[in-house]
């Protein structure tokens, strides 16, 4: 075998190996940034980037499946994310995609509270048929507070109003 062929193969092999590594990193990259497009505002504003659309499409579909309120929730001023502003989980955000968010110490809750004052199934936050987000206390021991008032019934959440569970404070934001 000629020296030239072997050299080309040697460099070619290295190139192919690194190509694999780079492709693998690209897959991770889309995994890291893929979560951002779940915020609907960003997805609408961002140009027709192929990846954005591909990931946004199934969500749209799912939203329509779960109650046919797809069109309604596109209105202006609807919150797009839930932010934990105080407590051990401060900084956590959850994108609001029409799913019910459960809060509590139970491990299968959407937001698992690590808080001595929280019950295992403490409260849930869900959209009603008009896309208005509702918070409901699930019979917790220490109660759920919206602003300063303790919740007794399911209550609509104004944008930015603090929901307090033990030491954890949650807000809905745009």
């Amino acid at each position: 075998m000629s020296e030239l062929t072997l050299t080309v193969m040697r460099l070619g092999f290295l190139a192919v190996l690194w190509l694999f590594v780079i492709v693998a990193v690209q897959v991770i990259r889309s995994d890291l940034f893929g979560t951002r497009v779940t915020q609907r505002g960003a997805a609408r504003r961002g140009g027709p980037e192929p990846r954005t659309q591909r990931q946004a499409a199934p969500q749209q579909q799912r939203r329509q499946e779960s109650g046919g309120r797809g069109g309604n929730r596109q209105r202006r001023g609807a919150p797009t994310k839930l932010v934990v502003s105080e407590g051990t989980l401060a900084g956590t955000t959850v994108a609001l995609q029409g799913q019910t968010i459960t809060l509590g110490r139970a491990h299968d809750s959407t937001i698992v509270l690590d808080d001595d004052y929280a019950s295992s199934r403490h409260a849930r936050i869900y959209p009603d048929r008009d896309g208005q987000w509702i918070v409901e206390d699930l019979g917790s021991t220490n109660g759920t507070y919206l602003d300063r008032t303790r919740l007794t019934t399911a209550t609509p959440i104004p944008l930015g109003a603090p929901i307090r569970i033990g030491k954890t404070v949650i807000e809905l934001r745009k």
Binding site: M9, L17, V21, V27, G34, S66, L89, T92, Q99
Partner: protein, 465 residues
């Protein structure tokens, strides 16, 4: 616990299943070793090796079957782990086959050609991987066997004491007529299951019930007990089996998992102090360990008419340079014995594909470990989190211990490079490890079931005053 749960919510985003990405990468991962195989054949004999087509079809078939099983039984699993494991295993086979072409180190006394055997073990490993995916529906089942797995792991670790030592270490169980088995590799997985189950229950006691002293949290005696027992056990392995690698892995795993479970830096300080103390104590009176440390400090010393294997492996890295000598054109046979196929396979890699290739291989290991840790972040249940951290931690430690030993960073310990090096137990156990990680990642990335329309709840709210 707080920082582990902070990220819990990340997993609730519906991740796309990405099985097609996996398929594309898998095809890539099959073609690269085939390319390497053809390259070795051309370099050694000037012709494409006769088995090239069969090898391609065989590896492709194996990868295809695994892909279909993952598609069926773990549709949301991580898309990267399987292709990376396949690539590393395929490259390992090529390198072992390439070393089999050296008549000097493939004599019948040294076991002859090892690639066919390794191919068989790899197939068995993939079969075990598929078995894990098909039969382990939910990794939380493993939580029930916390203490049973402790007993099993201890039995596996202690068993080799009753068998004769080979290459200066008692880490093999020899079954006459079947072959020998390295139970430490399997114990690695089983002990991670035990630690995950144990720490999940004891985590709060370990993290909270402690006195503060000089800025460090001193644990209570009754909480310190387990760590001391583990420490004593790993020292015992070191003393009776002279197996530096396994005891390092065992103890490092415990420190990592303890830290992840409790978030107390003081546990790391304790762990490092204990392991350093133990290592120094053992090194002063155990001759096998002393030899290893001595070879590490004085690699160029003459022994049996030549320099040490450590020095030879460094020579091979050096002669490889940046771009390597080319596949099949290195001289790593000079390391002698079967060492270049097992412990020192990285030296062959470093010589033939150079620093550039070696870095790519190490990055692949890094990516595999990163996916494991990422799985731990995304997992929703604490047992899954701890188990994923433990398994990827064990894998990472093993890669570090071997790569560090071969490159002269730390004394060489007799462990195998996962997937790459020759060794049946290692390849089977690591496939099982990847299988469990894929199972956890499937559970973690699976989108939460759609919320049931809660008309009933709204009705009751209307009734309520």
């Amino acid at each position: 616990m707080s920082s582990t749960t902070t990220t819990t919510t990340v997993g609730t985003f519906a991740a796309p299943s990405r099985r097609n990405t996996e398929l594309a990468l898998l095809v890539f991962a099959v073609l690269i070793p085939v390319f390497a195989y053809v390259n070795v054949g051309l370099a050694k004999d000037g012709s494409v090796p006769a088995g090239a087509l069969g090898y391609t079809l065989g590896l492709g078939l194996l990868a295809g079957v695994t892909h279909l099983v993952v598609r069926k039984w773990a549709p949301y699993a991580d898309p990267l782990m399987l292709p990376i494991a396949t690539l590393l295993n395929g490259l390992g086979l090529v390198f072992i086959w390439r070393l089999d072409q050296e008549p000097k180190i493939s004599t019948p006394q040294l076991g002859g050609a090892m690639a066919p055997g390794q191919l068989m073990w790899s197939t068995l490993g993939v079969a075990l991987f598929l078995g894990v995916l098909v039969f382990l529906k939910d990794h939380r089942v493993l939580q029930r066997y916390t203490y049973i797995s402790m007993v099993v792991a201890l039995v596996l670790l202690i068993a080799p004491i009753f068998f004769p030592a080979r290459f200066g270490a008692r880490i093999w169980i020899t079954i006459p007529g079947v072959g020998s088995l390295q139970p430490g590799e399997f114990a690695k997985i089983i002990i991670a299951i035990f630690f995950a189950g144990y720490l999940m229950v004891k985590r709060d006691a370990l993290a909270l019930a402690s006195r503060r002293f000089l800025g460090m949290y001193l644990p209570r005696g009754r909480d310190l007990g387990p760590i001391l027992v583990i420490w004593a056990l790993s020292l015992m392995i070191l003393v009776f089996e002279t197996d530096l690698g396994t005891s390092l892995l065992f103890f490092g795993l415990f420190v990592i998992m303890l830290y992840v479970a409790t978030e107390r830096t003081s546990w790391i300080v304790f762990g490092l102090l204990l392991s350093a103390g133990g290592a120094v104590a053992v090194a002063t009176f155990e001759s096998h360990v002393q030899v290893r440390v001595h070879n590490w400090l004085n690699p160029l010393e003459l022994q049996n008419g030549g320099v040490t294997e450590t020095a030879q492996s460094m020579y091979s890295f050096g002669s490889g340079g940046i771009l390597g000598s080319g596949l099949g054109q290195g001289y790593s046979r000079l390391i002698g014995g079967i060492a270049p196929k097992s412990d020192y396979i990285l030296a062959t890699v470093g010589e033939e594909i150079g620093l550039a290739g070696l870095m790519a291989i190490l990055l692949l290991y890094g990516l595999l470990i990163e996916r494991g840790i990422r799985t731990a972040l995304a997992a929703r249940d604490p047992f899954g989190k701890l188990l994923a951290v433990g398994l990827s931690g064990a894998f990472a430690l093993q890669v570090f211990v071997v790569a560090g030993g071969v490159t002269g960073l730390i004394p060489l310990t007799g462990m195998t490079m996962p997937f790459l090096a020759q060794g049946g137990s290692s390849v089977i156990a690591n496939w099982a490890l990847v299988g469990i990680l894929l199972r956890i990642s499937d559970t973690a990335r699976r989108p939460a079931p759609a919320p049931a329309p809660s008309t009933d709840a709204e009705m009751t709210q209307v009734v309520r005053p």
